[in-house]
């Protein structure tokens, strides 16, 4: 898998497949990631969607997809993918459709479904070696209901259900590790702000068979409280500060695909977002800031050693 069509940013697709006109918020990091993914994946795909922000991608009679789409429910998008994948296989085995009618089956869910309610369905699908792509747009909270904390919310973040001075008391669940522990075909983290890394990973995933799972950190102007124009900057900072490691799991190994040469202080990322403002104002919460920095440092020590 050394040959990539995406040698540099100039080779990224210049015309885009995902349609305009969706009701996603202006500056949505999830939609940005999705359209970049869709460009590589192509229209020969059926998206099986779980309850979340992207439920509203298709609102009758409008759809941005050139290919197909099925809305299921919050907990069971991977099971919907199972039903479609199996049915397409059966129809081909019976000779009722030719291989040209086949499609990539893609589960599309937010972090609420991926980290919580749908984790059992995902675990089951991986265990059954389902040939599908799973895309989680991770905006670190139940965004569609007003950004309450979820299993993906980072420590210290203010959400609609963690309004106190210390923000969210829990820690972001290591979903990448949980998925990778199932030993699927492929797991990767991506972010729309790093389109080349993203395109190469989707290219790789597309060529593989079996369960392939992608987590896209999705800067969320509405839920994270920042100016929509900062969406990509914040995404880049997430990578540069080491908060969002870009990595992939393949053949039993985890490889970091973009090692930040000199990691910027985490504060640079945190200070861009209203959800972390209480860490700085009315006065700096040094202990909490230090803890967050330490956790990031601790992660990268494990990687770099």
């Amino acid at each position: 898998m050394n040959e990539t069509a995406f040698k540099n940013v100039k080779s990224l697709p210049s015309s885009h497949l995902l349609g305009t006109g969706t009701p996603m918020c202006a500056g949505c990091g999830g939609l940005e990631a999705l359209h970049e993914i869709y460009d590589v994946l192509g229209e020969n795909s059926v998206f099986v969607n779980a309850a979340g922000c992207m439920t509203l991608l298709a609102v009758y009679p409008f759809t941005p997809f050139r290919g197909s789409w099925l809305y299921t429910a919050m907990a069971s998008a991977p099971a919907g993918a199972q039903g479609i994948r199996d049915a397409l296989d059966i129809l081909q085995q019976k000779g009722e459709i030719g291989p040209e009618e086949d499609m990539q089956v893609v589960a599309l869910t937010g972090d609420g479904a991926a980290y919580g309610m749908g984790l059992s369905a995902t675990s089951g699908a991986i265990e059954r070696k389902l040939d599908f792509l799973y895309i989680c747009y991770d905006n670190e909270g139940y965004g569609n209901t007003g950004q309450q904390y979820s299993g993906a919310t980072p420590h210290g973040a203010k959400t609609a259900t963690s309004l106190g001075l210390s923000g969210f008391a829990g820690y972001k669940k290591p979903l990448f590790d949980i998925w990778a522990a199932h030993r699927p075909a492929y797991v990767a983290t991506v972010i729309g702000a790093e389109p080349l890394d993203l395109a190469r990973k989707i290219e790789k995933a597309k060529a593989l068979k079996g369960p392939r799972l992608i987590i896209a950190l999705s800067p969320c102007p509405t839920g994270w409280d920042f100016d929509p124009k900062e969406s990509v900057n914040i995404g880049k900072l997430a990578v540069k500060t080491g908060v969002w490691p870009l990595k992939e799991y393949l053949d039993g190994r985890v490889v970091h695909t973009k090692l930040p040469p000199r990691r910027l202080p985490v504060e640079r990322y945190l200070e861009t977002q209203g959800r972390f403002r209480h860490l700085f104002q009315p006065r700096r919460q040094e202990a909490l800031l230090a803890e967050i920095q330490q956790r990031v440092d601790g992660y990268w020590e494990g990687v770099e050693s």
Binding site: S68, A73, Q82, G83, L88, M103
Partner: protein
């Protein structure tokens, strides 16, 4: 045709096999498990084509079932009780996809307290889900109803999933003579699934189960589902004729057993209705003018037929093997609604609740019910709802409560 002894579970599995199903998403639960075990065995040993996949929950099982049906294959699945409830979100969801397939439910009482034996609260919880419902009283009916259900659900005037219900233990584990039709004969009655325009193909982009904003379009889609379900009354009537021609057995939407000119009627669904038939036979021999009306089709609700069958009777006893807490028997309420305002409605429509959690309804209770409604008709007054529960049973329960260290001071009227 071959007649042999089969359990209700065996009959359901045979029906799926004869229906040439492509896909069986599965999840084990007592007392349904034998259905998927049989199918798994037949598929593994090459006795039938098809693919069986065990999902990690009934919620996922129903999602996969609906998704496969919307892709255009014939789907079968089975569950029971808590499993049906765990899948309930998806029952309501997939019916809106207008994806026809057949789900067999093996009725079992609901938790809490959790139990093993049947009543109908599980299946009635799915009453408003958009699944059509056929209720079986014999193992033969289980087999026949699954075949009918595919025709019914796949009919272009309907296009809805169908639940076929049988009682746990009383049918699921009980063998009875069942005629197994030849697969060629079934193929003639039940041609391959024609998925129509709603399916997933690379050449034809399709967005299914799409969200709507606003009550206007929402009401349209939901009411269309209702109209499709209502169409199923007429479609079922046609299919009953066709089925009889093909297989020689007639399954009316509402079975009418010795009820011509009967002054008194029992109304009930499910396998306990055959016990009512036995009671009707004994009562008839003893000179009573009694019959049984048994809805097989519960969704759509065959209200016109029920009105016709109940008209002019002196008294009717509805025996519900379910309980809607705070209201009473579900079937009783539905029958009453169907009869309201009809000039020749029976003056007495009494409610009895019995058979909860598999509690037996012995012959003498049916006799007594007949007596109660006859007396009520003579007095011109409908009796209050009656739970079939005896002093002996309460005394037995009191013994259990004593072991559970229930304070005697808290106990009400001692039996």
């Amino acid at each position: 045709m071959k007649r042999r002894l089969l359990t209700g579970n065996g009959a359901a599995a045979w029906a799926a096999r004869l229906a040439n199903v492509d896909y069986i998403p599965a999840f084990p639960i007592t007392p349904q498990t034998e259905i998927i075990e049989s199918l798994a065995d037949w598929i593994d040993s090459g006795q039938m084509p098809g693919r069986l996949v065990t999902l990690e929950s009934e919620h996922s099982m129903l999602t996969a079932a609906g998704a496969a049906a919307t892709t255009g294959v014939r789907v079968f699945s089975a569950t029971s009780s808590q499993g049906l409830l765990y899948a309930m979100e998806m029952l309501y969801t997939v019916s809106g996809w207008r994806a026809p397939f057949v789900l067999v439910n093996v009725s079992r009482g609901l938790s809490a307290p959790i139990t093993l034996e049947p009543d109908h609260n599980d299946i009635l919880a799915a009453r408003d889900s958009g699944f059509l419902q056929i209720h079986c009283a014999t193992c033969q009916e289980v087999l026949d109803s699954v075949l009918l259900a595919y025709r019914l659900g796949e009919d272009e005037r309907v296009r809805l999933p169908v639940l076929v219900n049988m009682d746990g233990f009383y049918l699921s584990f009980t063998r009875e003579p069942v005629e197994i039709p030849k697969i060629e004969q079934v193929a003639e009655f039940l041609p391959p699934f024609q998925v129509g325009e709603i399916r997933f193909r690379a050449s034809a982009p399709e967005s299914q189960a799409v969200a709507v904003l606003g009550g206007g379009p929402y009401s349209y889609f939901r009411y269309e589902t209702h109209l499709a379900a209502r169409n199923a009354i007429q479609v079922y009537a046609e299919l009953a004729d066709e089925f009889e021609q093909a297989f020689g057995r007639r399954h009316e939407a509402v079975e009418c057993y010795r009820c011509e000119e009967a002054e008194y009627l029992f109304v009930m669904i499910g396998s306990f209705a055959t016990k009512a038939k036995a009671a009707v036979n004994s009562l008839r021999e003893a000179g009573w003018s009694v019959g049984l009306v048994r809805p097989r089709l519960l969704r759509p609700f065959p209200d016109t037929e029920i009105r016709r069958l109940l008209a002019g009777r002196r008294a009717v006893a509805v025996i519900d093997q379910n309980i809607s807490f705070g209201a009473g028997g579900v079937l009783h309420g539905e029958i009453a609604a169907a009869l309201y305002g009809q000039p020749d409605a029976p003056p007495v429509l009494a409610s009895f609740i019995g058979g909860l959690g598999g509690r037996d309804i012995p012959a003498e209770e049916f006799y007594q019910i007949a007596k109660v409604i006859r007396d009520a008709a003579e007095q011109g007054e409908t009796p209050p709802p009656r739970l079939l529960y005896t002093g002996t049973e309460l005394r037995e329960t009191r013994k259990l409560q004593a072991i559970a260290r229930v304070e005697r001071a808290g106990l009400g009227g001692e039996a």
